[in-house]
Symmetry: C2
Subunit: 125 residues, 2 copies
Amino acid sequence: MARAATTLDVFNAVAEPRRREILDVLGDGRERAVSEVVEAVGMPQPSVSKHLSVLLKVGVVTVTRNGQMRMYRLNGSNLKPVHDWVKTFEQYWSHQIDRIKERAEQKMRDHKKQADNQADNKEEV
Amino acid sequence: MARAATTLDVFNAVAEPRRREILDVLGDGRERAVSEVVEAVGMPQPSVSKHLSVLLKVGVVTVTRNGQMRMYRLNGSNLKPVHDWVKTFEQYWSHQIDRIKERAEQKMRDHKKQADNQADNKEEV
DNA sequence: TTGACATATTCCTATATAGGAATATTATGG
DNA sequence: CCATAATATTCCTATATAGGAATATGTCAA
């Protein structure tokens, strides 16, 4: 099986740096024409259209017609799943190392077995 | 050009649901043998090894030898770039809609030109 | 209608999977 | 040295890109 489609979910969609760049441009919440995005990110227009299409399919942007232009607007709330997931690990970089260790050691204690922790012939890879 | 390698950065690595699942298992910070991860996620051992390999390459886990076992441990701090990026959009789902609109309108005011906002023949797509 | 502008779509290709199956590698105990 | 356990690696294949180039579609204005 190949890799999942970029349009499958937000995680796959935003894995592309260019698409994150586009989202950054739309980050202020104002709607923009494709041409404005093109100018902002300096990519060819077809590429921008394709990327916007992916972002649209996962619902992270919406589109509106305005004459011959199509105004894209960020739909930031659909990025929430990414935030929710990664927030789970927030403790690892928010200077609360003590709590992390403490929690880990607590679990270690709870786990009655595996007293084989004296095997200190560890080796970093 | 094909899609970027999954080992290119954390964004690509965690786009895979199975890999996020594995990270969730390691989420408590305790090190685990591959077999423990295998049992926890219910995937074939070779798949787990491959996924762990990807996670290792992007630095989001570390590995340590212990006899014939390899103990993997979460290196959560390497998920920070994802958090940092998505946090930029936090405003969109944290009940502060008023501020968002206000900010957008402020920028609208700052932007002197484009007084062509009376074109209200918009159409959802 | 016609031309110009804005955007989307189609074609093409090199590349990188993810999963399954089988096998290789490494370590341990006796 | 050998069987076994734990893990990694190799082979294979269907699939899905991302980007470039060219073109199609849609809209407006005169």
